[in-house]
Symmetry: C2
């Protein structure tokens, strides 16, 4: 008997009908002879509605209480899913994050999992129950307060439980058919990726592909969990995120590129006229880090010899933008820079593929594709298996389409099999 | 420093504005120099909405999951109240029933409190926090499952916490100004009762006065908790439910009667043509009890000598009616009765007052008042401090008004002080 962990997101649990559909899917998996542990998010817009309520009573809700409030969302959906399964004749029990043993640190709103002790889940499974667990939430180790894991939290709950229970697979159900070579809303000819390595999926997630949160992929990679992303609305096979080749597909030549990701969530701050002397850049980035801004890409212009001044640009999430500008403004005099420029009209396009490691022509093709489409490049950053550039926001869609086409990803020859992660 | 436990019902927490008003009230109590522990119900119609959702996914939701679902309601309101208090500059922390140490048996949907271990509440109060606790819910001793206490549960939570914390008073906030000598919707001249004994309040609650649940009053009486019922919408002083006379009011003559209660929630089952032989009645009531019907009043007619048959009538909650009829139908042949009559068009009017113990004229006045108003009496039941009769449902309002008037309760000489409970 296999143990399957399944995770259903809010869009798969929007209303009573959706919940019944999810329940049927869970029961099918059980009837196929598997032990099943299910992680659920809050229904549809519940979380947004709760945040809205909080804002009505408090301009700055305390984080501890915000977590208490938001965790009501999964509590509702997990109980409803368990009820719906019972109606189909199977025994199901729901468990809060705390009951399921999701032990976290004390950081309300963005807690990190420090331990998983799923004794009650194990017992429920052993008694023949289907276990339904609230995603996104845990209980803090020291104070026993209720915590939430922050963005992508339910995916992380599922992966963490899969690891602790030594599950055979962790299925992430969502409202799309899997991972695509690009966002099908921008590139209609984008193809579903049948397999992708965790390393590539990590880069995809980090570069704005929203299907899986970076953190969940990291957790899966660290613990060797096979992830399977698929749609709760269709029986299609989805995408396997796994570092070992699948049996029977060993002979398939791995493509060079796994996909094109894009990201509209970042802004660019330019620190203008920084004195070109040692320690100035370090001071700038120390202050930005202390303001808890996540810096992504950095560019330092060559300094003009006559002035002795240089410009430093970096990108960060728009949500961190205000904090970053504020923090920098306070050190303007001590660092001695001239001014700050804030630009939130940027986009980032990234090409990801483990195959580019051994294919030196990749970056040439990438830059030629952009230049042929008239896309202006503002910043560049690369890793072993990724190239990212910042463009104007209004050129982003063109950039994605150009790159997707240049690497032959939108040819109509079926689905993409991506195995770069194994180095083949 | 006093310790005050306050309980706010759903109608006091209907929306963000109501929550803010409740928060101000709590903060006032804190600023007056008290430690404050607050028990909250779910907001407004939340519980009904959750039940509705459950019915959409399951015709017979498992009780364990129903409890998990419904407890989301108080979780939301307690977090919002805590946030709103924080906005007013006071530290507040919310706690689930489980965190607050409300330990119950395993009966989902109608759990009984078996222990209260409010260590975390004590600690929060000692740290200067206002503690907000989810009413209506607990955690089962053996299985650690989440339970709910059933009807009147939040009142019971408040009383149980007041007892365990040795609070000075337990204030029950509701949407009316206190306990009245009769329902003001039926008797517009009904007066607020300033003080009433727990014994009389118990009879009031048992006879249909909805302001406090029987169970909470019983708990308060058993643990000697002073209850204070008042409105969250007005600063009026409300009603003290307490067995000791209040200082400064010792000289006040206690009135004979505390109030007139009425109840429309019961139905009457008549078992027609029961053989008048030993054991038949016992068999009937055993079966009804096994069907978990709560029998209230019982009347057995004098049997007709010639037929050797008698009729047995009893009242029970309408919600138990179907189960009662079904159970009895199954023993029709073995007991040998002729037929069953079910009547849900009845009402019950009750006169309550500890003073009637030493006033033999009370029942005469009571029956004369009803007869003068043309109210027909179908069943009678009495205790030391109560007389109840069953009437036709459409005569109930007349009956309440007639009795209220006959005992001088609607004279305009201020508020009623009721002290029958101390025997004075």
């Amino acid at each position: 008997m296999s143990l399957v962990v399944q995770k259903y997101g809010g869009s798969s649990l929007a209303d009573a009908e959706s919940i019944k559909r999810v329940a049927r899917r869970i029961v099918e998996t059980r009837r196929a002879g598997n032990d099943v542990c299910v992680v659920v998010s809050a229904m549809g817009d519940t979380t947004d509605e709760l945040i809205d309520l909080a804002e009505q009573v408090s301009p700055m809700p305390p984080a501890r209480e915000m977590d208490m409030l938001l965790t009501a969302g999964e509590r509702m959906s997990m109980a409803l899913v368990a009820m719906s399964i019972a109606t189909l004749g199977h025994a199901a029990q729901s468990f809060t994050g705390s009951q399921a043993g999701l032990i976290t640190d004390e950081s309300h709103g963005k807690a990190k999992i420090v331990d998983v002790t799923p004794g009650r889940i194990r017992a429920a499974l052993d008694e023949g129950h289907i276990a339904i667990v609230a995603g996104f939430q845990g209980v803090s180790k020291e104070t026993k307060n209720i915590t939430t894991l922050g963005r992508g939290g339910s995916d992380t709950t599922a992966v963490a439980l899969a690891a602790a229970l030594e599950a055979d697979v962790c299925e992430i159900y969502t409202d799309v058919d899997g991972v695509f070579t690009a966002d099908p809303r921008i590139v209609p000819s984008a193809r579903r990726v049948t397999h992708i390595s965790t390393e590539e999926m990590l880069e995809m997630a980090a570069c704005g592909a929203k299907i899986l949160h970076l953190r969940a992929v990291e957790y899966a990679r660290r613990h060797g969990i096979a992830l399977h992303v698929r749609s709760s609305f269709s029986p299609k096979p989805g995408t396997m995120i796994i570092d070992q080749p699948i049996e029977g597909e060993e002979g398939v030549e791995a493509p060079i590129i796994s996909g094109v990701a894009h990201d509209r969530s970042e802004a660019k701050i330019t620190v203008v006229g920084v004195p070109d002397s040692p320690g100035k850049a370090a001071e700038i980035f120390r202050v930005v880090a202390e303001a808890e801004c996540n810096i992504d890409m950095i560019v330092q212009n060559v300094s003009a010899v006559e002035s002795g001044l240089t410009d430093i640009s970096f990108t960060l999430p728009k949500t961190d933008g205000q904090a970053g500008v504020k923090a920098l403004d306070r050190i303007r005099e001590s660092v001695g820079f001239e001014s700050l420029r804030y630009d939130d009209q940027i986009g980032k396009v990234s090409l990801i593929g483990a195959g580019m490691r051994s294919n030196p022509g990749v970056s040439a093709t990438f830059f030629r594709a952009l230049s042929d489409s008239g896309v202006n490049i503002e910043m560049i950053s690369t890793s072993e298996i990724r190239i990212s550039v910042v463009t104007r926001a209004d050129q982003l869609d063109d950039a994605v389409r150009a790159v997707h086409r240049a690497f032959g990803l939108d040819s109509a020859d079926g689905e993409a099999v991506v195995y770069g992660g194994t180095g083949r």
